[in-house]
């Protein structure tokens, strides 16, 4: 066996190239960072201000500056079940995605050999077809006369007798749509594992299951955490799956934000809901950063 441990050049730390400190660095950063500051960071300030606006007296549908913190309690009182449902749907979808993605990521990392890069292309290829159409296609796949529904019905496994327009369809859609976001980080973590560590466990009489539990799984945890975040966050905010595959009883928080912003034009309520959603996600992100630092984020 070769004595050199293969190191990938793409580790988190900055490359040891002579790092220059000069105006050029700032000049390179400035345009892009300014763009993100103006069109990503500042909008959160306006979002927050909008969430506290009060109606202009006598003119319905017009809002002005205010400090109506009651917008938050009103919005939460009305929409807390949607937050809960989003959390539940996104949580189940993330766990399912983890269970589905792990074997594939494992296979690509350790067994795929020369098919590795082709399989990675195949993982991202479905994203080239429209997100909306792919979600819409699940309407066909899960339809009441379809193969899946009739099989499960024959086995009496469906409490409502159908899949489409139920929570099951929404979770199925979320799981499918965000699966690549789980597969890729898992693969990146598994690929870094030296296969000889797993062999060594086998040499020391660990059964394949013990070797997986004590070696592979712990070493793949960074990928599990990253994949969980990257799947859970977009799933939590999604409303396309709920709108196309669910019924009115399966609406998620994204549906409420969209309807309040675009149809009802109730900007303060919609902004308050967005802000609460974002705050919850920031808590998740910062918990992750406190453990892993910011250098591996980008």
């Amino acid at each position: 066996m070769v004595a050199v441990v293969p190191t990938s050049g793409v580790s988190g730390a900055p490359a040891p190239v002579a790092q220059r400190s000069s105006r050029t660095g700032y000049l390179l950063l400035f345009p892009g960072i300014a763009w993100l500051a103006v069109f990503f960071a500042i909008p959160f300030v306006t979002l927050f201000l909008t969430s506290l606006q009060q109606p202009v007296p006598g003119k319905s549908g017009r809002y002005m500056f205010g400090l109506q913190f009651s917008n938050y309690s009103d919005a939460l009182a009305e929409y807390w079940p949607l937050f809960l449902r989003s959390f539940l749907y996104a949580g189940i979808a993330t766990l399912l995605a983890l269970a589905i993605a792990y074997p594939l990521a494992y296979f690509i990392a350790f067994r795929a050999g020369r098919w590795r890069s082709l399989m990675l292309v195949l993982v991202i290829a479905p994203s080239f077809a429209s997100f909306l159409l792919r979600t819409y296609a699940w309407k066909t796949i899960l339809s009441d006369e379809g193969f899946i529904t009739s099989t499960l019905n024959a086995l009496h496994l469906l409490p409502e007798g159908r899949i489409l327009n139920t929570g099951i369809a929404v979770v199925a859609g979320l799981t499918y749509n965000f699966l690549p976001f789980m597969i890729l980080p898992l693969y990146a973590a598994l690929e870094k594992i030296d296969p000889r560590l797993i062999e060594a466990a086998g040499d020391l009489y660990a059964s394949p299951i013990t070797a997986f539990r004590k070696v592979t799984w712990p070493l793949s945890l960074p990928g599990v955490v990253a994949g969980t975040l990257l799947t859970f966050i977009p799933a939590m905010g999604d409303y396309i799956n709920a709108a196309l595959l669910g019924s009115t009883g399966n609406r998620m928080i994204g549906n409420a934000i969209q309807i309040n912003f675009i149809q009802f034009r109730d900007y303060p309520t919609a902004s308050a809901l967005s802000f609460v959603l974002m705050a919850g996600i920031l808590v998740l992100v910062f918990t992750y950063i406190r453990r892993a630092g910011t250098e591996d984020l980008v």
Partner: protein, 277 residues
């Protein structure tokens, strides 16, 4: 039984790949359909009508062209800005590094509905008219981060000795960049641009919030979903899918050939192919 146990992971892996492509197959098959009702959900009758007349339904092709235009402009600007950031992150020291990292990461971690809503709140407060400009601004904003990540990975994976060698051979900084650094990073930049275009072309949520009356291809599909999506949409989506797949596979093939050339080096290139110590 033994064979099954040994190959179980492989079988599951193939099954997952097949699962990923089931909706793609549905989209393609339904592009040859002649639906009996208004919804193109069930295969009724084979027809080439949609393929023969891609723009046969009003609005489909104009929204498609709008999306391509928006995609091209956003991708060019975002790729330029993102590449510059990636160079700064890898090659330069500066203050506020973790804030910068965070500002680049957060757009990728923020749900689209929140980004769309907050940007709309900004435009509404500024009374900025919604339309093509606001959608392009939004797309550039969310593509930049993906470009930074892609190009940064390429820069970090580069062998620093190639540039050192050029300097040792008396190349001035501009020549080093032009003949060594840039050609080596270019595949990463092109990959980032391709990713950026596909993100822009397929974006629905952020665009929908900031489009006003503008109709992009995804916004067209969303509107059509209520009254029945025309078969032409399936045909166009199939074309987009196949074109993107061909581009990516070609890039893979070229990359593979290059690697093979590096693995069996001619004597002069031998040093460049050595693994990094």
């Amino acid at each position: 039984m033994r064979w099954l146990r040994r190959n179980l992971v492989g079988i599951v892996a193939i099954a997952v790949l097949v699962y990923l492509f089931i909706p793609i197959a549905v989209i393609m098959v339904l592009s040859f359909n002649k639906p009996a009702g208004k919804y193109n959900l069930k295969f009724d009758e084979f027809s080439l009508e949609a393929w023969a007349n891609l723009c046969g339904v009003p609005g489909v092709c104009s929204s498609f062209v709008t999306s391509i235009q928006i995609g091209i402009v956003s991708t060019i600007v975002a790729t330029l800005l993102g590449t510059m950031i990636a160079f700064a992150l890898v090659r330069y020291r500066f203050r506020g590094r973790s804030t910068t990292n965070l500002l680049i990461f957060l757009p990728m971690a923020t749900p689209e509905v929140v980004m769309g809503a907050s940007l709309l709140a900004l435009f509404l407060n500024l009374r900025f008219p919604l339309g093509q400009i606001t959608v392009i601004i939004a797309h550039i904003m969310f593509i930049i981060s993906f470009v930074v990540v892609t190009v940064k990975a390429r820069l970090q994976g580069m062998d620093p000795r190639l540039e050192e060698a050029a300097r040792d051979l008396y190349a001035n900084p501009r020549a080093v960049f032009r003949y060594v650094t840039f050609p080596l990073v270019l595949p990463g930049i092109l990959g980032a641009a391709l990713l950026g275009f596909s993100l822009s072309f397929d974006d629905f949520i952020i665009s929908f919030f900031n489009a006003g009356t503008l109709v992009t291809f995804p916004i067209y599909i969303w509107g059509a979903a209520q009254r029945g999506i025309p078969v032409q949409v399936n045909a166009l989506a199939t074309i987009v899918f196949l074109v993107a797949l061909v581009i990516v596979l070609t890039a893979q093939y070229v990359n593979h050939r290059k690697r093979r050339a590096l693995d069996n080096p001619t004597p002069i290139a031998a040093d460049a192919a050595l693994p990094r110590s």
